[in-house]
């Protein structure tokens, strides 16, 4: 994927920022494009604020280069719906909230972890050349920054497969259904007090 990358310098972007709580009840759908960073992007009267994702060419960004601890806080998956519906397919940060990173992968959004120095340098390049594109190659596990330098990243093989092939977790689990039933029977026998009520 080669796409416009938006630099977001602020660390600790929590899931409340990505999707303010009052929007959590919105059913999954295109409305989430407006919900992303809603209170950072819009005034109470709906007028646009000056926020990077409201500026051209970042309205078309598909990659975000962030800082540390992206997506900490609440477990809300709606934060990922908002990113996805806006068009974001990859977030590059030096660290992620654990639950949010899981939620990203389950919804086809790639979380890439690079070092703090790498993300800082990438964001600087993007600020210097607004609208520059970056390339993310999941199969090769590389990010090519705006200056053409290639950065390797690591990703768990299951996460990779999940993103590349749209792996269905439940289908995977079903292969072990017999093993689970044997496990569960023994488990219940060991802890009968859990199943009395």
């Amino acid at each position: 994927m080669t796409a416009i990358a938006a630099p977001i310098d602020e660390p600790n972007i929590d899931t409340n920022q990505l999707c303010p709580t009052r929007f959590n009840k919105v059913p999954r759908g295109p409305e989430y494009a407006q919900i992303l960073f809603h209170d950072r992007r819009f005034e109470l009267n709906g007028a646009e604020k000056d926020f990077i994702l409201n500026r051209e060419p970042y309205r078309c960004a598909q990659i975000i280069v962030a800082d540390r601890n992206w997506g900490g806080g609440s477990s809300r998956e709606s934060a990922v719906y908002a990113l996805y519906e806006f068009g974001i397919r990859c977030v590059i940060a030096s660290s992620f909230g654990d639950i949010h990173a899981n939620n990203c992968v389950k919804n086809g959004l790639l979380p890439v972890v690079l070092t703090e120095a790498e993300v800082v340098a990438m964001r600087k390049e993007l600020h210097d050349r607004p609208g520059a594109t970056m390339t993310v190659d999941l199969a090769a596990q590389t990010v090519t920054d705006a200056a053409g330098r290639v950065h390797d990243f690591s990703i768990h093989p299951v996460r990779k497969k999940c993103l590349l092939e749209g792996l269905d977790d439940l289908a995977r689990t079903r292969q072990y259904i017999e093993r689970f039933e044997i496990f569960e029977e023994a488990y219940r026998k060991d802890r009968p007090w859990l199943y009395g009520n």
């Binding site: 009840k25 609440s74 809300r76 939620n103 802890r191 007090w193």
Partner: protein
């Protein structure tokens, strides 16, 4: 046998199989709430049923109003919010899930009710559709929050694919000082390790400070593990745990109790077990804490001052502090105890238990609230207990508002929220921008500190009021 941590013992006993470095974990119990509508939508989209409905528990908490509850669901004026409550009830009925509904005498927050009912037990793996599921780890179980996709998987299979996390032990030793509570301990921990400090880890809280804590206090500490970036926090089960649990509705009884107890006693971390990371704190050195910024790690003793961006170690940190101060409308160098407050919120899954209300009431009775101050019990049972003890009368006499149970102004989606620009001393868990309402400003504090702020109309060192009393 190799020495094991409590986490490893629980994890290995729940591992069904392994594939490419991921473990299929058996989930004992799962907790959901009105906001789990996305998980049910996914279940419906795949035309799946709930595999083990008796192991799923549903709670009306996030969206329920905290006044006018005598009319039940019909009393919810906002049709969208009412619909959330109705939808959960419909989904619970359809799938045979136990619901602690809006009219239930046991109704309350999903992290308050399961411990009260004995649903939370040592040695279990519990997942919840909420990041504060870490609360339950106070009982010596592995409990963590999941998103809608993972919750759907749990509901459909009673299992979950997980990678093995790292382990961290945080040892807090020493007797805490006068006026210092579990909330101050966890804020001090987060200030020390940072909001990303626990990422990828399960934390075990150990040491004499933790051992001396009540279950309520341990829950407060474990609750905010997620604010340190850790999905789960846990405390070894001991006599405090067992005596709390005895006689709870879902707790084992008779010979089953003895059998369970014998098992629970095998859970604590072995003496020689090794953690990936060890952190130590002096419990005696912790003071009443307050947050000044927009991240839970922005916590300082109440005797401190608002930091100056110019003192930051580097440019990035300076920009970060300045952005927080701009949002919070604070000037560098201001004494924290000089910050004027508009509202007070006492409640939430962090601090909505009986011990919290007792601590707040002990301060409230020393004066009268100068600003709107709400007390929202974490559950109907907490509310009833508090009323039996006369705490509601103490609060009312001091000008505090006594409300009905729910998440209320912690998550601010039931209509209870700050107005733009309002500044709140809050016993909740997150001081994120807009968390308590768009444009609202949050200072996280303990229940006693919140009550003190209400009496003084500013952030206040609760120890001064306690000394005068």
């Amino acid at each position: 046998m190799t020495a094991q941590t409590m986490f490893q013992k629980i994890w290995s006993r729940h591992a069904v199989t392994e594939e490419e470095g991921e473990i299929l974990l058996h989930i004992d119990r799962a907790l959901i709430h009105e906001g789990s509508s996305h998980a049910f939508a996914k279940l419906d989209a795949q035309q799946r049923t709930v595999a083990r409905p008796r192991q799923i528990f549903a709670f009306n908490d996030h969206y329920v109003p905290t006044t006018g509850r005598d009319k039940g669901v019909a009393g919810i004026a906002n049709p969208e919010i009412r619909n959330m409550v109705l939808t959960l009830a419909a989904n619970a009925a359809k799938h045979g899930i136990t619901l602690f509904g809006i009219d239930d005498p046991r109704q309350g927050i999903l992290h308050i009710v399961p411990p009260e009912q004995g649903i939370t037990q040592p040695g279990l793996v519990i997942v919840g559709a909420d990041s504060h599921t870490s609360t339950h780890g106070a009982f010596g179980c592995l409990a963590f929050g999941v998103g809608a996709s993972e919750m759907m998987h749990v509901m459909a299979s009673q299992t979950l694919w997980q990678r093995i996390p790292k382990t961290m032990r945080i040892t807090v030793a020493g007797a805490t000082g006068f006026g210092v509570t579990a909330k101050d301990v966890i804020l001090a921990i987060i200030a020390r390790i940072g909001v990303g400090g626990g990422a990828g880890h399960v934390i075990e809280y150990a040491g004499s400070t933790m051992t001396a804590m009540s279950m309520e206090s341990r829950m407060t500490v474990c609750n905010m593990s997620i604010e340190a970036g850790a999905r789960a926090g846990m405390v070894r089960p001991d006599e405090t745990t067992f005596s709390y649990m005895r006689g709870r509705p879902y707790a084992p009884k008779g010979t089953a109790w003895d059998e369970a107890l014998a098992f629970w006693k095998t859970l604590p971390t072995d003496a020689d077990a090794v953690f990936d990371r060890e952190v130590e704190l002096d419990g005696a050195a912790i003071a009443p804490m307050v947050t000044w910024g927009t991240s839970p790690e922005n916590a300082l003793p109440v005797t401190g001052r608002v930091p100056d961006p110019r003192d930051a170690p580097d440019e990035a940190a300076s920009v970060e502090i300045q952005a927080a101060l701009d949002y919070m409308a604070l000037q560098p160098g201001t004494a924290l105890a000089d910050i004027r407050i508009d509202r007070v919120f006492i409640g939430s899954c962090t601090n909505g238990r009986i011990e919290d209300l007792r601590a707040a009431a002990a301060i409230a009775k020393l004066g009268r609230a100068r600003i709107p101050a709400w007390v929202v019990p974490g559950s109907r049972l907490v509310q009833k207990q508090a009323e039996n003890e006369g705490l509601d009368q103490v609060f009312r006499a001091a000008g505090f508002e006594w409300r009905d149970p729910g998440c209320s102004m912690c998550t601010a989606i039931n209509g209870d929220q700050l107005q733009p620009g309002e500044r709140c001393a809050s016993t909740s868990n997150r001081n994120f921008r807009g968390r308590q309402g768009t444009g609202g400003r949050t200072h996280l504090v303990s229940p006693a500190m919140a009550a003190a702020a209400a009496l003084e109309g500013r952030l206040t060192d609760v120890r001064e009021l306690m000394t005068k009393a």
